[in-house]
């Protein structure tokens, strides 16, 4: 009969546990570096802000267009991440807010001639209010039911806008072309998208490091426990949804005027939402810089693909294959995987 006393075994275990914990803390401390690379971030921003200077050297409209397009997706993916990454509610119909923003500002532009650059915040606010109201209903359910309802929401929006004659039905809205000379025509939208993406990233960063963000991540783990820990989970997730909708709505407003037309089959196709999701997965869901990395990568890939194979169904196929491989082999995304291995470069570490 073994007679190992309980207290002796306990004491040994405690010493071992304390040692292990100390080692763990040290490892954590070594990955958490002091300070952020603000220099890098500001440097990037300055370079991007100076990008239009290229126009003095020749026609770089394509570069500006790609940059603008990337800003837009960075803004939207970062916004999606606030809901999908932090809170864990996967929305596959998030471009509903893109459409709402686009149509709201587009209608004002078409009827009153006020530029979307001015009305974008209002468009964002409308999208946010709408997001808040929808969230009250759809965020009642978790997991598969929520995902399905997000798709259904998109489908309802598509049918409504396709059949709403006041906003042009399936032909959509046309808004006046810019009167600026062609080499500078992109400029206002370029800066607007740059600002929106910076705001979106800033919001994502602030939320991640706030009590609110902590609450969101807690409820993504276990809603009941989060609730019993005193977090108003219902308010938190609906608020996150509304904030996310705000940035997506703003991006939609500016994008509409930039394109000069706002159509259901551009704003309300599921591929737009799929892109947001995929960018976050590629870069790293729930990280601050993941959506940025993901957006840049996916857009670069798409351009490459279109250049070689043409803009065709193969593009959808390619998107699907990348998503499948990323999910199967890199579920944490680039930033997430590097962070886990402790090899995340400092300029990407904003978590």
């Amino acid at each position: 009969m073994k007679t190992a006393g309980r207290s002796a075994a306990g004491a040994g275990d405690v010493a071992a546990v304390v040692a292990a914990r100390r080692e763990m803390n040290q490892r954590l401390a070594s990955t958490r570096r002091e300070g952020r690379s603000w220099g890098f971030a500001i440097g990037c921003l300055l370079v991007l802000a100076a990008l239009p200077l290229l126009q003095f050297a020749g026609n770089f409209n394509y570069v500006l267009h790609m940059a603008l397009y990337t800003f837009m997706y960075i803004a939207m993916a970062s916004a999606w991440n606030i809901v999908g990454g932090y809170t864990g509610y996967i929305s596959l119909g998030h471009n509903v807010f893109f459409g709402i923003g686009g149509y709201f500002s587009g209608m004002i532009l078409a009827s009153a001639g006020i530029s979307t650059l001015i009305t974008a915040p209002a468009a964002g606010a409308v999208a946010a209010v709408f997001g808040f109201l929808v969230g009250l209903v759809t965020l009642r359910v978790r997991g598969p039911s929520f995902i399905i309802s997000s798709i259904a929401l998109l489908m309802i929006a598509r049918i409504l806008f396709d059949n709403w004659d006041y906003v042009g039905g399936s032909n959509g809205l046309s808004v006046p072309l810019s009167t600026l000379p062609v080499e500078w025509a992109k400029l206002p939208y370029f800066y607007a998208m740059l600002v929106i993406s910076v705001l979106s990233i800033a919001a994502s960063y602030r939320i991640k490091h706030s009590k609110f963000g902590l609450g969101l991540r807690a409820l993504s783990q276990d809603e009941v426990k989060a609730e019993s820990a005193g977090i108003n989970t219902k308010l938190y997730k609906v608020a996150a949804f509304a904030i996310s909708a705000f940035f997506v709505g703003m991006a939609g407003a500016v994008w509409g005027e930039y394109l000069t037309y706002i159509r259901p089959n551009i704003f309300l196709i599921i591929l737009v939402a799929a892109n947001m999701v995929l960018m976050c997965i590629l870069g790293g869901k729930g990280t601050v810089t993941g959506p940025i990395v993901g957006a840049i990568l996916l857009i670069a890939f798409n351009e490459f693909f279109v250049a070689y194979f043409g803009a065709s169904e193969l593009n959808i196929l390619g998107t699907g294959v990348i998503m499948l491989l990323a999910l199967m082999f890199f579920p944490l995304g680039i930033v997430g995987t590097l962070a886990r291995q402790g090899r995340l470069p400092r300029f990407l570490d904003w978590d």
Partner: protein
């Protein structure tokens, strides 16, 4: 002649987490009722889950009649003759009582034999017979526990492992549970029992094991363990809590 079930140096845990079992050992002799006791989180349920193949071992070995069974899948282990009734009762709530029993004999190939055994079991549990066509999810807690234990009789296993069968049941019903355990033994089935209610469990057992911190601290005849002052002090001490 090897013992019926032997576990040596078992180390196991959930996911990448810490080891819940940290060198646990266990011997179960054929024909006996063995009761495993220990405080919450000692690793008792984990050990049962490891034996039955739900949780893989990180280290150590499990032998059944001398043959290694660690690494096998749950359905393969069942075919060896080990039947496990987990704490959460493991019934199919949207199947009837009879269908649940039928699932109990899923591994039997002979359908006629299966139906005969079901009728035999229903004969021994009149309450279940009354409710044979009722959905299992609508039974009371005690009836559900009775059903999950009765279900083990269908396959006629060599060893039945019960994880806290008395959990959440009224004292009257607990007495019935132990009657059923006695019935299993009378059938020649060896029983390995995990009990929070240590006194009750040991009183009905031949052999006792004390598990704590993932290790086997004591084992011996149940009566001796009951009488051991150290164990009384550490694990049986607060009688009010145990009851």
């Amino acid at each position: 002649m090897p013992e019926l079930l032997e576990v040596r140096d078992a180390v196991a845990g959930y996911g990448g987490g810490p080891a819940i079992l940290d060198g646990a050992a266990l011997t179960v002799r054929e024909g006996q009722i063995e009761c495993m006791i220990g405080p919450n989180g000692a690793g008792k349920s984990t050990l049962l889950k490891a034996i039955v193949g739900i949780l893989p071992l990180r280290k150590g070995e499990i032998r059944f009649r001398g043959e290694r069974i660690d690494g096998l899948q749950p359905h393969e282990i069942l075919r060896k003759g080990i039947c496990f009734v987990p704490q959460e009762r493991a019934l199919f709530p949207r199947m009837t009582v009879r269908e649940n029993l039928r699932m109990g004999g899923y591994v039997l190939e002979d359908r006629g034999e299966l139906e005969r055994r079901i009728d035999d079991v229903l004969g021994r549990f009149p309450i279940l017979r009354e409710r044979a066509s009722q959905l299992a999810g609508t039974l009371s807690g005690g009836q559900q526990q009775m059903l999950s234990m009765a279900r083990t009789l269908i396959v006629r296993p060599t060893l039945v492992m019960l994880d806290e069968p008395s959990l959440g049941l009224a004292p009257m019903i607990v007495v019935q549970m132990f009657e059923i355990i006695g019935m299993l033994r009378a059938e020649g089935i060896t029983v390995l029992l995990v009990e929070q209610n240590a006194l009750m469990g040991l009183r009905h057992a031949d052999w006792g094991v004390v598990l704590d911190l993932g290790r086997t601290l004591f084992e011996g005849p149940a009566a001796e363990i009951l009488a051991d002052p150290r164990i009384q002090d550490l694990y049986l001490g607060r009688r009010s809590r145990a009851a």
